[in-house]
Amino acid sequence: MNNPISITVHSEKSSLLGAPIPVSMAVTNTSQFPIEILLPYPNPNNLAFGCITQGLAKPKQIERQEIERTIPVKISPGTTYSSIYYLNRYLAFNNSGRADISYRLTALVSWKDETGKMNHNQAAFDGRFEITLVEGSVDQLRTLLGYYRGRLTNPDRKEKMQAAEALAFLDTPLSVEFVAPMLSLDNLETIGIDALSRHPSEQSQRLIVSMLAHRDSSVVAAALAAINRIPIPISRQEILKLLASDNPNIRWLGLDWLSNRPDSSDLRFLAPVVSDQNDAVRELAKRYADILRKIN
């Protein structure tokens, strides 16, 4: 048995142009053995969509996810696991109408056979399905986005992540106010920052900079990355504040940012971190201070 699963991909109903375009992917275990499949969510590295119909959509540049860590999905014999993906990450639609969409999924499928031997198969699935996009009013769009915003607080982790994915890649600046709540929701902060950075308005930039005050260094790292990428003008004082964080990893991020943009005026602020209790912070601070002394 090479392939113990079957894949069904479809879009059930018409979608508003500019709104999230959901696609349901169902994975059925057609074998007599329990299987595990690697289906990260989101899945930019191993799932691709293309628009076959001419003139309706342009492919987006897909940002590869450098870390592919995922909990394998377990599927019992004869049962189906479904999840909702959104075309907005992959395609920018500019016209309404019917469109043929192609997909390609690669995934590792693992199962134990009747002898107890573990089998692994890197399976690839290709297919196509149809979608229909219709024009809608701004009010209709806002109502729909409000529905997804409400699902961001769903206690079910999968539902929450799907709602975030629905809102994160929209091409309308209208999405900013619906993405903003992610900044205060556990595990959605970095997704929100990245989504806001795709609509670099004054409001979104202010929201991104505000995340430098977050207590989790991964969130601060995402905010700094967005600030660099857009780029967002930011005063050096804002970054220097990070050196006073009680989280050593945030102090390290501040030092890393500053030392990659050396300025001799920083030297007088480095004294506390040159003697920091955290080894990594202290070593980086000393290296940066040495560089500044040489500049001076």
Partner: protein, 252 residues
Amino acid sequence: MAIFRNGIIAPFLMQANFGKLFFTESLSIINGSADNGTATISPTSITTTSTVTVTGGNQTSPGHGGNLKIQAKLDGSVKAESSGFTVCAHPVNYTDSFVADIDEPGRVGMIVQDGWDSDSGTFADLGEAEISEIVEYDAPISPPYAGGGGANNSLYLRADQLSTDTHTIAPRPAAGPAASWERRQVCIFKCHRCGATDKDHPNSGFKIVHYVFSDSGHWKHNMKKIGAKVTARGHTSEGGTANAVSPDHNLS
């Protein structure tokens, strides 16, 4: 079971000085409840400054961290109370083992099975902890590799379900010259019971090294993941346990 008191692991050191050492102090854990969690203390009476051991019972519910306290009484009067603490389990001792090869037109690498333990000894106790991974890498030698240096944080995943990690480089490296490309990985965790965030996962340091090399006139790639003390984005951890090696991948 980790007992956290302002982030410091017990055994809790009682340093109250009551002056008259011939009296017996009675010690107890107060505020135990379904939400706050429960713990026991041993011994329950002391006559001098002593080290006491607090053992976690039921775990603290999320949002109720830091409410348990050690209380010392003398002749029925409360003489001292500790800072609040939380009963919660945290992940320790990360491992990785080879699962599957990846040798595709657009990428090469391998998939590894992650593993870790709970410091309580019961894996299911990790239900309110989450783990994220940080990988940092220097700019590679180009050719054979393409791309730049950088650092990435993964999203957090729940800690009571084991994960897999897919380590690839895309595009495939060029057919020479010979070079290696090292990445450093550290895991961090957060705990919704005690509110800890950004904590270095003990023994979760790894080096992930890609190699391009010549073998009998053919250029090949392989990679390995080994436990090592590393620092990534300022997070440092002692080495985890791994010795995963991919098969060779033909480049020419």
